[in-house]
Amino acid sequence: MLSIKNLKANIEDKEILKGLNLEINPGEVHAIMGPNGSGKSTLASVLAGRDEYDVTGGEVVFKGEDILELSPEDRARKGIFLAFQYPIEIPGVSNANFMKTAVNEVRKSKGLAPLDSKEFLKLMREKMQLVQVDKTMTQRSVNEGFSGGEKKRNEIFQMAMLEPELGILDETDSGLDIDALRIVSDGVNALRDGKRSFIVITHYQRLLDYIVPDFVHVLYKGRIVKSGTKELALELEEKGYDWIKEEVEI
């Protein structure tokens, strides 16, 4: 479903991704871990098509199509969803209105008729339950004045609404309290249907107790330097990154 080959990307002429490879099959969950500044968010942004990043080499094939030339909205419409590490506030635009616009844009790109208000409300109610988002939150402006945890929960709510094929979660667990972590994880797990894939970026093994990954990768200095199964996360939790850094530097 997603195939990244030798991906290189710069920001402001500084090379951040330095030849990254990753293969994801339908239904798989891949966790990406790695020290601060290693390029995890950069990878997420590049996949989503953020314009500040210059892709200088490699390819990204999503569902058989090279997506590097596509606009961010086209990638989103094709089913790539990014849950932001730092969700953005849009004052004066209600979450509900924002989601209605988004859902209908995605539907339009698939040749589907837009949902009317009633259908939309029904869908929204269903998905609100999934991550236990309450009504006031959908009526408030997008992320404005939301607590850190509420913002993260809102990202997963939006993901549930848009039903993407690939969900990229950038540190969705940071800022969540213990209960919220479980709720959000349950929400994500409910979306695991054997076809939908996820990239879960996290610093903490704890999240992976809830969202159990098929693979764990370590991203360091713009490359994936180690891959394994969920046991790798446990090992990292215990030992930190030094041993991996040492392996790489040799």
């Binding site: 314009d51 635009v93 616009t101 939006q158």
Partner: protein, 481 residues
């Protein structure tokens, strides 16, 4: 230029969508301005002598005045002798029903999406439609008459209600007030007149659609709204104008007189032709709008959505004379391409315990310039006066300008005046966030801008708010996608 900026540029660089010229036989004064022009206008309108005298006094005053130059706008000198000061569609006959309306006029309204039938059937809005300078049709008049409400064209009011016109005309905006008010007082063509008697709550939104029509015709509207003690009315004014090349001068005067316990809500959507991308053509909109809260607890609210005109110079103001009176100003001003807007308000606190609120949202795109200019004056007897001002500017792109000129004059130490101002850019972050949810940049800009203006749109009557949002989307829409 980044991709976003490019798109913003296209989006904000769009050409005016609603430019068209309709072909109504005009009855036109010769170009230029002298006493004869004024006599011509007055005669055309079968005015009584007192009205002509008023015009001539105003004209003599105007000749002594100088065109103001303090606004943050730039334009070539206007040749006031090169303007046609009167043009009217020929009245065919009085109309019994809308079917008798000139098909051309009707078609124009249809193109604007404001057909009178629609208005009549759907919204229960009484429409006093003004094409160029003469009122063409007034609806719902009978219903209003039952309540003693007078809603008619200004010329008709001059003929039918001279005592009211004489008493109130110029009582809020005297012809000595400023250059354009004097000009308007001398040559005003027509407009609306509205009187709500004591204790009457006007049951419908009163509405006027203005439109500039004949080529080279100045538009000098005059509106007078009087709310007697305890009366309430909500008045809507909206317009769009046809596309043309030469600049058109528009100098309207709106006066609102609110007696004790009266409330007037005045909402405007202004969409005159702004000129093309290169700044060619477009309407010069030099307007004097002022309300007087004459009695205790009177309240006047101005809400405006300004998207059109090449140049806007407009400061809807409230004089808070009555104790406990309230003035409000809610404004969204959008400038694009080469447009220039210098707009804001004046809140003049005279009475005790008076309060005013100013919420101004400026949005600039293209190479436009958008200035907020506001005055809050607290007189020495205005005990416990309160003002809250919030002036926000939003920039789309990096070649436009936003400026804020708040003036505060406070002569009473018990007053409390608060002023907040922010300037922000539509962030690439916000746009990317929308993009990532499948929303195109063009729609994202519309969404973000509409969200930004929400506080003001919330003040508009429902159907007008929807229209305003569409208008905003259209003004910001371009050839993208």
């Amino acid at each position: 230029m980044s991709e976003d900026l490019k798109i913003i540029d296209e989006v904000t660089g769009s050409d005016y969508k609603w430019g068209f010229v309709s072909n109504i036989e005009a009855d036109t004064a010769p170009k230029g301005l002298n006493e004869d022009t004024i006599r011509f206008i007055s005669a055309k309108k079968n005015e009584p002598q007192w009205m002509l005298d008023y015009r001539l006094k105003a004209f003599n005053q105007w000749k002594k005045m100088e065109e103001p130059s303090w606004a943050h706008v730039n334009y070539p000198k206007i040749d006031f002798q090169d303007i046609i000061y009167y043009s009217a569609p020929k009245p065919k006959k009085t109309l019994n029903s809308l079917d008798e309306l000139d098909p051309e006029v009707k078609a124009t309204f249809d193109k604007l999406g404001i057909s009178l039938e629609e208005q009549k059937r759907l919204s229960g809005v009484a429409v006093d439609a003004v094409i160029d300078s003469v009122s063409v049709k007034t609806t719902f008049r009978d219903e209003l008459a039952k309540l003693g409400i007078i809603f008619c064209s200004f010329s008709e009011a001059v003929r039918e209600h001279p005592e009211l016109v004489k008493k109130y005309m110029g009582s809020v905006v005297p012809y000595t007030d400023n250059f354009y008010a004097a000009l308007n007082s001398a040559v005003f063509s027509d407009g609306s007149f509205c009187y709500i008697p004591k204790g009457v709550r006007c049951p419908m939104e009163l509405s006027t659609y203005f439109r500039i029509n004949s080529a080279g015709t100045g538009q000098f509207e005059r509106t007078l709204i009087i709310a007697d003690e305890g009366a309430y009315t909500s008045y809507l004014e909206g317009c769009t104008a046809p596309q043309r090349d030469e600049n058109q001068l528009h100098a309207a005067v709106v006066e609102i007189y609110a007696h004790k316990d009266a409330q007037v809500k005045y909402s405007t959507v202004q969409n005159w032709y702004p000129g093309d991308k290169n700044g060619k053509g477009g309407v010069y909109n030099f307007v004097t709008k002022r309300g007087l809260c004459a009695g205790e607890r009177a309240k006047i609210s101005w809400t405006q959505v300004e998207t059109g005109s090449a140049i806007t110079w407009k400061y809807p103001s409230v004089i808070l004379k009555g104790d406990h009176s309230i003035g409000e100003f809610y404004s969204v001003a959008v400038t694009n391409n080469m447009q220039q807007a210098d707009t804001g308000t004046k809140m003049i606190h005279i009475g005790k315990n008076t309060s005013s609120t100013i919420i101004s949202k400026g949005i600039s795109g293209g190479k436009s310039n958008n200035s907020y200019r506001g005055l809050v004056r607290i007189g020495k007897n205005a005990l416990n006066a309160r003002n809250f001002s919030q002036c926000d500017s939003l920039l789309l792109g990096d070649r436009c300008g936003a400026h804020t000129f708040p003036y505060i004059e406070c002569s009473n130490p018990t007053a409390k005046v608060e002023h907040e101002a922010t300037t922000s850019k539509v962030g690439e972050d916000q746009i990317f966030y929308c993009n990532q949810r499948g929303i195109s940049t063009e729609d994202a800009v519309g969404l973000i801008v509409n969200g930004y203006c929400k506080e003001v749109f919330n003040q508009l009557p429902m159907e007008f708010a929807v229209e305003a949002q569409k208008l905003l989307a259209v003004s910001l829409e371009g050839s993208v996608g």
